[in-house]
């Protein structure tokens, strides 16, 4: 069980939105973590350079580090599946976001905010398959 946290989740969501708006206003970029990571990989046609991408990713990692280590914020974290499942999941997500051209941040937030039909289709698709996958694993197979 995890606790239902409507207010902190809404506030966190608003911060994510604020970051997306700022990255567009200042750098003119979609805040899609897939696109940002992809531009960092070897052989990528890193349009506009790797600098801002690396800086964004560094900030995204450093903030939770500071919040938990320096300010003592308690952040819930529990990975309830096996190591093998995490590894398989990472590989599938990596292939999926590359073919689908985005993930929960790029399609789910930025694309939908631009009212992109592609992003709406992507979002409905991954929400549906994620729900189905969790149902199959938890209620049909009984855990992995």
């Amino acid at each position: 069980m995890t606790e239902f946290t409507p207010w902190s989740s809404l506030a966190g969501g608003a911060l994510i939105g604020l970051a997306a708006v700022l990255l567009m206003a200042l750098h003119g970029r979609i805040m899609g973590v897939t696109g940002i990571l992809s531009g960092m990989l070897p052989g990528a046609a890193a349009g506009g350079g790797r600098g801002w991408r690396l800086a964004f990713l560094a900030g995204a990692v450093l903030a939770p580090l500071f919040l938990t280590r320096a300010f003592g914020l308690e952040v819930g974290f529990d990975s309830p599946v096996s190591w093998a499942a995490v590894a398989v999941s990472g590989f599938l997500v990596g292939m999926g976001v590359t073919w689908g051209g985005g993930c929960t941040s790029g399609h789910g937030i930025c694309g939908n905010a631009r009212l992109s039909p592609r992003s709406l289709v992507a979002t409905l698709t991954f929400m549906a398959t994620a729900t189905l996958t969790v149902w199959v694993i938890r209620h049909l197979i009984g855990g992995i």
Binding site: L37, A87, F91
Partner: protein, 136 residues
């Protein structure tokens, strides 16, 4: 200046993700477990993020250009094809297996736990593999 700004924006994003609970795979999986231990929190994350971005983009994209660049870099693709749907379906399956997505896993690296590291490593491997297959 653009680099410092990107670092700060990344920090806002990372703070939002952990505050929202998106860096916690158990919470993400419970959002999808409607028939079991359902936790609707992530709907509030999505709602909050979308509302702010929807309104913010209205104002920002009306401008001629962003502060640090000559123009906005917006995706030009419009096709709703098999690759989009198939890729997104695969993303959802992977997301449902372990509860990590790229935007949640990167900030989760800062929590200094081993699972996000394993996820990000295999994520990058999957991205490189898909790129190789796409070339053919």
């Amino acid at each position: 200046m653009p680099l410092l700004a990107a670092l700060l924006i990344g920090m806002i994003f990372g703070s939002g993700i952990v505050l929202a609970g998106m860096a916690n795979p158990a919470k993400v999986l419970n959002f999808f477990d409607i028939a079991g231990s359902w936790d609707p929190s992530l709907a509030f994350v999505m709602g909050g993020a979308l509302a702010v971005t929807l309104i913010g983009y209205r104002f920002v994209l009306r401008r001629l250009r962003p502060a640090f660049d000559q123009g906005f870099h917006l995706p030009a693709r419009a096709a709703i094809d098999r690759r989009l749907v198939g890729g997104s379906a695969l993303l959802g399956i992977g997301w449902g297996i372990a509860g990590f997505c790229p935007g949640g896993a990167i900030p989760a690296l800062g929590l200094l736990r081993p699972e996000p590291l394993l996820f990000v490593a295999t994520l990058l491997a999957g991205m490189l593999a898909a790129r190789q297959l796409k070339k053919r």
